[in-house]
């Protein structure tokens, strides 16, 4: 993996695909690393893109600052990395912690973007997220990194995925434990102490923005994405059916297909950022991929309009008679 310098720190990155093609930059979440985007590079490079993925500061093989790493440094570092790689503009796709960095980047360095994909993320700490973040940090500091890892599997993945991967999970956790450092995770999590909500700045994002949220993501639920949808005028919200927080890992085929469609719309000029809400097809091969959303997308249950029947009308009459 090639390396570049950001101040005193080293940043490991992977850039695949022919020079001159449109670039998609991927940003990962906490406890992840650039390798997790390899399958995305395998998908998008043959489709005419270049793919840039890198280990953010504090993760993977990049430097893990011990003393401090301000949240804003991540977007500044991405700006420098793009300059060093002579990439003028990029599509930026991101998940979770990477999503916040991407939103910050889009606000401050929007001129460097063709488009933005923000997945399973948030622009501000809702009270629920604030409390979740506090308990995750407490788990990390009081019990340790293995505890945080154990906590993240059920928070990020579905029962179906856990059941199918139960045998592999110990080895995956071990690899994560070797590749991550508890203090670096703690630094990244504690950088939220000084985090100012991005919501008031979101209106500055002008590039086409696809917001993607898992149907059952209870870590960053609908309200987090709804805040972004409402503030970014050139956006659409796409709900991934039956998905949890880490659907980029659990449902890569569906995710790649949705990003591909979005990028095609942006490139062809057919993109319509109207803040509408859509539902992604389950099948990446389906003819129609973005299905209209009927009902209130902010709710988990859909209430049908009550229909007057003879039986209900009769029972109402009886009740009235009894009362009189």
């Amino acid at each position: 993996m090639p390396t570049t310098q950001y101040g005193h720190h080293q940043v490991h990155y992977e850039l695949t695909g022919e020079a001159g093609r449109p670039v998609i930059t991927f940003l990962n979440g906490l406890t992840q690393n650039a390798n997790l985007w390899t399958s995305y590079a395998d998908y998008f490079v043959p489709r005419g893109y270049r793919v840039l993925a890198y280990d953010m500061l504090g993760q993977g093989r990049s430097s893990k600052p011990v003393i401090d790493i301000p949240l804003a440094a991540h977007a500044d570092m991405l700006d420098q990395l793009l300059t060093e790689l002579a990439i003028d503009r990029t599509h930026l796709a991101s998940i979770s912690f990477g999503g916040i960095i991407a939103l910050d980047f889009a606000i401050r360095y929007g001129r460097r973007l063709h488009s933005l994909v923000a997945m399973s993320t948030f622009a501000e700490l809702t009270p629920q997220l604030e409390f979740l973040g506090a308990v995750m940090t407490q788990g990390l500091t009081d019990v340790g990194l293995p505890y945080l890892q154990s906590m993240l599997y059920p928070m990020n993945m579905s029962s179906q995925w856990i059941a199918a991967n139960r045998e592999r999970i110990p080895a995956m956790k071990r690899a994560g434990y070797i590749g991550n450092d508890g203090y670096a995770m703690q630094n990244l999590m504690e950088s939220f102490v000084k985090f100012k909500p991005l919501t008031p700045e979101l209106h500055k994002i002008k590039v086409p923005t696809l917001i993607m949220n898992g149907e059952f993501d209870f870590f960053t639920p609908r309200e987090c994405h709804e805040l972004i949808r409402k503030e970014v005028t050139n956006s659409r919200l796409l709900i991934i059916q039956r998905a949890y927080h880490a659907f980029t890992l659990e449902m890569p085929a569906v995710t790649m297909r949705q990003i591909e469609i979005f990028l095609e719309q942006v490139s062809s000029g057919s993109w319509k950022g109207d803040q509408s809400v859509w539902i992604a097809a389950d099948d990446p091969a389906a003819a129609e991929q973005w299905l209209p959303c009927a009902g209130d997308w902010r709710r988990a249950v859909q209430i049908a309009t009550p229909v007057k029947t003879r039986a209900t009308a009769a029972s109402k009459t009886t009740t009235r008679k009894k009362k009189s």
Partner: protein, 204 residues
């Protein structure tokens, strides 16, 4: 940076051979050398003037390191091979030398640079020397040595909070980049020792 393949090789060796007295002795020799250095440093640093509430954390850390070293000494099935001690001494020599330099007169109590270095080296040890990944999945989780390693590693994470807080709050007159560079030097030193140790652990 620790090469993850070295963890795998060491774990494979332990899975095949079990936690033999030789393997247990190797692990305990490394951990004891690291922890004795940190213990000695904290036992001295506790008398630094003006520590305030930090003093209690410093004392707690030296006590916990003492507990860890004692627990290891009691639970280890020791090998009687003196060659192990000689090889271990060579591998941990960079750590022992670094701690000795920190403790040189006037010692960390009266030398803020040595105090900073000790906290930084302690951070590197507690953060980077990790043995949970070498415990095979088929190991008995109730084996006393396995229990000791697990508890010690968990306690390392808790103890590390003292170093994390101190490194963030002291030496603010020195530019952040310089402080980070000092800490990274110690991480490289510890990683070098630990990489060599894992190779030794994996060797038949």
């Amino acid at each position: 940076m620790i090469d993850s393949a070295r963890f795998d090789q060491a774990r494979d060796r332990i899975a095949a051979a079990g936690f033999t007295p030789e393997i247990q002795s190797k692990i305990t020799l490394l951990l004891s050398a690291a922890k004795n250095g940190n213990l000695m440093f904290h036992a001295n640093l506790q008398w630094m003037p003006g520590l305030g509430v930090v003093q209690q954390f410093i004392i707690s850390q030296s006590a916990r390191e003492l507990e860890a070293v004692t627990l290891l000494a009691r639970t280890t099935q020791w090998s009687s091979d003196p060659a192990l001690a000689l090889t271990a001494s060579r591998i941990v020599a960079p750590l022992v030398t670094a701690w000795s330099q920190i403790m040189l007169p006037p010692g960390p109590v009266f030398n803020p640079q040595a105090a900073y270095r000790g906290i930084s080296l302690g951070h590197a040890q507690l953060a980077r020397i990790r043995l949970l990944p070498v415990i095979p999945e088929n190991a008995d989780p109730l084996d006393p040595f396995v229990v000791a390693l697990t508890r010690i590693e968990q306690e390392n994470g808790r103890m590390l909070q003292t170093q994390i807080r101190l490194l963030k709050s002291i030496g603010e007159d020195v530019p952040l980049e310089e402080r980070e560079a000092l800490v990274e030097q110690d991480q490289e030193l510890v990683d070098g020792v630990f990489n060599e140790f894992l190779t030794w652990l994996a060797a038949p």
